[in-house]
């Protein structure tokens, strides 16, 4: 036995058996164990535990590595597809379909139902294709007001051509007896 205590010796035993102890402490530990039956018994136990380590199955690293890489590649692919769908990065545009988000269409449909109007798809027109079915009517020959036309149609004066506006004013003056 030397100056090494039993406590220090017991602390170092695992490092000795798995080869992580330097030459100098190894020599001191072995000298201690040679003169200490108690520590000799414990070192024998530590060696037995180390010797009975479960064997690592052959091919485990390869199979785990393959699984890890497969998972890694799948995770890299999914964000790329999500980014494409969200309009980030490279995009794939399908022909013949409107390029608008699904939620935008849904919101428009809900708004249309709430307003009591329909949606028509097709080429854009200069004149509005959607008009209320009340308030006033647009006929082939001109603009006709209903009974409540002045109230309902007032906001619609905006956007009328000068010609249509003049016709409207003439009709109004006729209906009111021409007393302007």
């Amino acid at each position: 036995m030397n100056d090494m205590s039993c406590g220090e010796a017991r602390d170092l035993m695992p490092d000795l058996v798995n080869g992580r102890l330097g030459p100098e402490p190894t020599a001191r530990l072995e000298a201690h164990v040679a003169g200490c039956a108690e520590c000799g018994t414990e070192l024998r136990l530590v060696r037995m535990i180390y010797a009975s380590r479960p064997e690592v199955p052959e091919g485990l690293a390869a199979s785990v590595g393959a699984a890890v890489l497969a998972d890694h590649r799948s995770r890299r692919r999914v964000p790329a597809e999500r980014a494409a769908a969200a309009g980030v990065g490279r995009r794939r545009v399908e022909r013949g379909r409107p390029d608008r988000p699904w939620w935008g269409v849904a919101a428009a449909a809900i708004a249309a139902v709430a307003l009591g109007i329909g949606i028509r798809s097709g080429p854009a027109r200069e004149a509005p294709s959607v008009v209320p079915s009340y308030g006033y009517e647009v006929g082939e020959g001109g603009l006709w007001l209903t009974d409540d036309g002045l109230l309902a149609g007032a906001p619609s004066l905006e956007g009328l051509t000068d010609e249509a506006l003049m016709r409207l004013l003439e009709e109004l003056s006729v209906e009111s007896g021409g007393a302007a």
Binding site: R20, E42, L45, Y50, A51, L60, A61, V64, G65, H72
Partner: protein
């Protein structure tokens, strides 16, 4: 005591982790080859079922790499991985319906049969007995003993893995060793 880390002269674990974060598949593979054995021993120590241990190792690596961005480097990659492995193994243990565990009677019975064993086989038999007894220790004692002896981890690292303080890991280790000596006498 050396912390868990590379056993060769290649790039450090920290360097590999950085490369892996950038999507370097070779770095992922190197980390697997470097740490799969320790992970398997930890998993086997907890689940005590060879097939289940392999599944645990695979799941632990996948979880670790998925969470690599959250790895802050407070501990070594090896310690972090073994912590994930231990947690996975505890979860798997609940799912293992049938544990294949050799009983002490089977071991001693085998020893009494046949010809007188030579010194090498006596040593092997004693080692097998020690392994069986190790399986009878409480979880934290068993894990402290295996992590300290088989992996050479410090008590600080063992504490992180078993969810205890460094002092508690030390106590668990020495209680486990004392208990094993009693069982084997």
């Amino acid at each position: 005591m050396r912390e868990v880390g590379p056993q060769d002269d290649g790039p450090s674990d920290a360097e590999l982790v950085e490369k892996a974060r950038r999507g370097d598949e070779h770095a992922l593979d190197t980390l697997v080859r470097r740490h799969h054995a320790a992970a398997h021993r930890v998993a086997a120590s907890i689940v005590r079922d060879a097939d289940a241990a392999q599944d645990v190792v695979q799941d632990a690596f996948i979880k670790a790499f998925r969470a690599l961005d959250g790895f802050r480097g407070d501990s070594s990659f090896g310690t972090w991985l073994l912590t994930i492995t231990a947690n996975e193994a505890r979860g798997a243990l609940r799912r293992v319906v049938r544990r294949r565990e050799t009983s002490l009677d089977d071991v001693t019975g085998a020893a009494s049969e046949g010809m007188a064993p030579d010194s090498a086989s006596v040593l092997a038999l004693e080692a097998q007995r020690a392994r069986v007894m190790l399986g009878r220790l409480p979880d934290k004692q068993r894990l402290s003993v295996t992590l300290r002896i088989e992996e050479g981890l410090s008590f600080r690292e063992i504490g992180k893995i078993i969810g205890s303080s460094e002092g508690a890991a030390r106590v668990n280790y020495f209680h486990g060793i004392r208990r094993l000596r009693e069982l084997l006498e």
